[in-house]
Amino acid sequence: MDLRRFLDLYIAETQEHLRTLGRTLLELESGSTDAVAEAFRSAHTIKGLSAAMGYVDVAQLAHRLEDTLDQVRNGSLKPDAVLIDRLLRQADELDHAVTNAVANVTPQLDGGTTSPAAAAASRPTAELPPDVILPAGTSRIGVVRLREDAPIKSARALLIIRSLADVTGYLGAHPHTFADDYDGVLHLFFAGADESAVEEMVRRAGDVESVMFHAADETRTVAKTAAELRSALRATRKARTVRVDENRLDGVQESLGELSILQNRLRTQGGARNGQAAVVDRMRTLLSELQLEVLTMRMVPLSETFARLPRVVRDAARAAGREVDFVMQGDEIELDRSILNELGDPLIHMLRNAVDHGIEPADERAAAGKPRRGQLVLRAERERNSVRVVLEDDGRGVNRARVVEKAIAAGLIPPGSATNPGDEEIFRLLSHPGFSTADEVTELSGRGVGLDAVVSKVRALGGAVEMHSLEGAGTTFMIRLPISLALAQALRVRVAGEDYAIPLTHLSEAIELSDNVQRDGDREQVRLRDGMLPLVRLRRMLQADTSVREGAAVIAEMGDRRAALAVDELVGREQILVKNFDPAVGTLPFFSGATLLDDGRPALVLDPLSVM
């Protein structure tokens, strides 16, 4: 919204209120009590008008004056001559500031009051204070987090509480009265309720960042008997929540994973034969519940990492002299903390890159018929078993000819290569270690971590990066990540007598191999429905006997690229617990980790993208 057309109105109204101020301050000296209220209102209005115009300095001066007048109003300051002097001086300063602002400052909307970094640092915890006793019958607790930038969080929380008044099963909230420093976390207590309906109602009240439900700790509910009361009292004496070192959570998760594998072994090795089937089944259910519980404990919303990014973009844009609007979407989506922890640096690198090399200077954009301000969108989406993080800019796009030129100069591709290769080839070149298209190393990017580091980091997390770029129109990066590092759904395949696990994240389907394979010189292709896919024989990759014909293939996909990986046999689908390892020197580069299979045998985890 262009505020310049409000400028005349602003000047007229502030002038009038400045005159009122001058008059009422003098009346105040002659002992009028009505004058204080009137002066206060004028200062207050000037503050509001100036803040609306983005004149921060004026608003601050008005606020100071308003403060002093408030103290006069409530009797804690006496309006003697010295004070009136001070007030008049402040009013003069205010007058000058208004003139100055009107002459020199471009009006702009500015709703942000704290830097995202500062906001993230002071992020409130979602823990229910240990001394809160839950209403009788509480079985579920909804934790509502208000957005960091929500104004007057207490009033918003009150609106949420009010909107739930008629909900069946709603028992109460903590807090229900609000202190000035209320941090924006609200705990709602339910004796069972339609949680998705509740979430919708809560979100409808506005400014809600997240709503999460968890089971109530029953020892904290209001006691119905004396014995319960005693134990509840005992319970309140000690804290009911504990902070856990992340490593210990890892430890629990690993042990659980191994336990679950042992349980599977028990099941496959005759537990059922000995009439223990029911016990083994029960064990399996409990173990899955436990695993899910631990996984949930490890999940954190993307906002934990996203929160500091607007500042990164702002700083990068200032340093590079770019005008950028940065939008983030989907930061409520949750990921395993260990993945999220690793995601920050690659994202920061990519954002800086986008500002530095993607978004053009405003004049260049205007000349190209684009809006002067560049658009940078960071968006997260849930996708089957993964999360997709998309970074989109409307900048100049990748200069393909230049990339090719540089790649030839660096000896990455032979001279005379096509000057307009596809996105994938370009991306492969760009993410080659040491490749840089920047003509000079800027302060922001182009040195240190490169795109190659981003790609290898994401790959190490079991994810993949794709790029699409249109010259003159912008570049889009897509990062696909697993939701959890440790636990994965995998397909177990057999190649040359060994079993391997392939995570399902990058597999689309499995097919049989028979007469659908075509040979074309050195290359083999397999027919899938109406198209042909390159066939990669794992026997060859794993340096096994290739005279044996494979019986099946799995289809791996990354973006538009697909390939069929030939295996001897499909064994089945399993949930595996992946242990990452640093590949020893000399090992084949296709493995991302190791796991124990259902029958207790160790197996390597194959990264399908590495063989494509």
């Binding site: 009137e38 509001g48 709703g111």
Partner: protein, 120 residues
Amino acid sequence: MAKTVLICDDALFMRTMLADILKGAGFDVVGEAQTGAEAVTRYRELKPDLVTMDIVMPDMGGIDAVRAIMKDDPQARILMCSAMGQQALVIEAIQAGARDFVVKPFQPSRVLEAVQRVMG
């Protein structure tokens, strides 16, 4: 038919800005008031679908005006317009029956979100 709105604020600047935002969202601004007392009278006359109410106004403040309007018409949809630091007053207004609030300086998108919640 377009929804009607009564805008109550002692500053012409704020009234103009709000009118601008609300007209853009298809509202018909049927009236404006500069004091709390005027807001109450105008509400009785106009029965608007929505009221935006400033907190600090001469004559009668916004919160007393909310109380008076809610007494007349418990279904009234009132959106409070507050400045930073008026936390306690906003809570008072909500307890008096205001449906939602926005904080100055106004961001049009925020105002429209709040209006949508009040009307929804």
